[in-house]
């Protein structure tokens, strides 16, 4: 089996600035914290330990589901895998191209046309202008925005903008997919179409990591379920 992602003792600490005084307040916070554990780093700063010594191996073909309460570290782990945060300590090796489905509407501009937004999003996903040229028709067609393509996006309904964002995000071939909740958009009809499209994309990917609260979806899609709590792996179940 080809190992695509390896983590050894991976930890992430978020520094909290502007809280160096008022010790008692800090102590009381430690007791009520539902998120990561509060701690102090070497220079006596307050930090939140969002991920605490995680070790795991993800292999080719794995479908990983991350579950746990709010603040358990699911999203942070996805951000770390996406390369946004470098681990504060420990090691992480990623062997493959990451396609992050986090923030699929980032960079969209309501004042420019849907067409321009396809390019804006495509460029942020790391695509070349030329590559996008060849994808525009398919994306517009799938999103079903018709002649609205050439109108500013502020004229779209919120469902239409979401459909467009979804269509762009799912228009690429992906090796390693990271997703915060199963993506969906639009009305019932579109949601069905969207599910098929995303399932097709996911089934072609070499590795998928999804964070979700939807346990039935996780059971449906994933072969490994990682249960996080306070930034630690509580259990890791393979199907």
């Amino acid at each position: 089996m080809v190992q695509l992602i390896t983590a050894r003792n991976l930890s992430v600490d978020f520094p909290i600035f502007g809280m160096t005084s008022n010790r008692s307040f800090k102590k009381s916070l430690i007791n009520i914290a539902t998120g990561g554990a509060l701690a102090k780093d070497a220079s006596n700063r307050v930090t939140v330990r969002a991920l605490d010594g995680l070790s795991f191996d993800f292999y080719e073909g794995d479908r990983i589901g991350l579950v746990g309460h709010n603040g358990c570290g699911k999203s942070t782990l996805l951000q770390v895998l996406a390369g946004i945060y470098e681990p504060t300590s420990g090691e992480l090796t990623v062997d493959g191209r990451i396609t992050s489905m986090l923030g699929i509407t980032l960079g969209m501009d309501a004042e420019v046309t849907g067409l321009d937004n396809i390019y804006l999003r495509g460029r942020l996903m790391g695509l070349q202008r030329k590559t996008i040229d060849g994808m525009v028709d398919e994306i517009a067609d799938f999103a079903g925005i018709g002649e609205f393509l050439h109108l500013p996006m502020r004229t779209y309904s919120s469902g239409m903008s979401m459909r467009l964002a979804f269509a762009v995000a799912t228009s690429v071939e992906a090796e390693i997919i990271l997703m915060d909740e199963w993506l969906s958009a639009g009305d019932a009809d579109f949601a069905l179409k969207a599910k098929d499209r995303l399932t097709a994309l996911v089934s072609k990917a070499r590795l998928v990591v999804i964070a979700s609260h939807d346990l039935s979806m996780i059971a449906d899609q994933c072969n490994t379920v990682i249960h996080l709590e306070h930034g630690k792996i509580l259990s890791m179940t393979k199907k």
């Binding site: 996406a82 946004i84 470098e86 923030g103 980032l106 960079g107 070349q128």
Partner: protein
């Protein structure tokens, strides 16, 4: 990262001037208004020939606007891009290059005013005008490290942007922009040498105005470029990965 900063820079300019009739040429127009308003008055105040003074003021103000805007915006280069930095994994240099490209685009618009002024009041000679692009290139290289460094410091210490904008505000008056070093008594001209911003402006300005090349400025700009790049590289190498945590 395949030139994405250029597209983002254009996008921001277009966003700012959307649905305005003359669009980004407002940049040029406001410079034109400032120069034509201040030029004659300050020319008289300083006892200068209007042609000479307007020429000096236009070129100086345009270069200054470019440099000062870039330095002023450095404080928010990462803080302002928090949404991007926390959601997509782009190199931090993308945001710095975007900032510099945007200001270069604004400079390009302002250059229409400069062209206009230099046609109406031509300088004595154009012998060294070919050096202006090199001067600008060195200024841009300096701005790259400076914006990167200030951007990182500002992400960690949020007082830096305030401090920088304070300094820039005063610097407009302390740097020979509205006045020129020729107005200083000969024995006092060395005072300008202690002002780094003077040298930054001078390497672009002197070639455009047909003035003799001031070697000290070129040396200064060159040395800061090397020294600053090394310093920033070291800081960047050590703290690059911390920037998202500071936002």
């Amino acid at each position: 990262m395949h030139g994405i900063w250029w597209g983002l820079a254009w996008q921001e300019i277009k966003q700012r001037y959307r649905r305005s009739v003359i669009g980004p040429f407002w940049i040029a127009l406001s410079t034109a208004v400032m120069v034509s308003g201040m030029g004659p008055l300050y020319g008289i105040l300083f006892g200068q020939a209007v042609s000479n003074y307007v020429q000096h003021l236009a070129v100086s103000l345009i270069i200054w606007t470019f440099i000062s805007a870039a330095i002023n915006e450095a404080g928010t280069v990462f803080v302002g891009a928090e949404g991007y930095i926390k959601q997509v994994n782009l190199p931090l240099s993308v945001y710095v290059l975007k900032l510099i490209s945007r200001n270069l685009l604004m400079l390009a618009h302002n250059c229409t005013v400069m062209l206009f002024v230099l046609i109406i009041f031509p300088p004595d000679n154009f012998n060294s005008i070919w050096m202006a692009p090199f001067g600008l290139l060195m200024v841009v290289c300096n701005l790259f490290w400076l914006v990167l460094l200030l951007g990182m410091l500002s992400a960690r210490y949020r007082d830096i942007p305030q401090l920088v904008s304070n300094i820039i505000q005063v610097a407009l008056f302390l740097t020979p922009i509205i006045w020129s070093i020729e107005m200083l008594p000969p024995g006092r001209r060395f005072l300008a040498d202690f002002n780094p911003l003077f040298h930054f402006i001078e390497v672009v300005r002197a070639p455009l105005l047909g003035k003799s090349i001031y070697l000290v400025s070129w040396l200064f700009v060159f040395i800061t470029m090397l020294g600053g790049s090394i310093l920033t590289f070291l800081v960047f190498k050590k703290f690059r990965s911390r920037v998202p945590y500071w936002l």
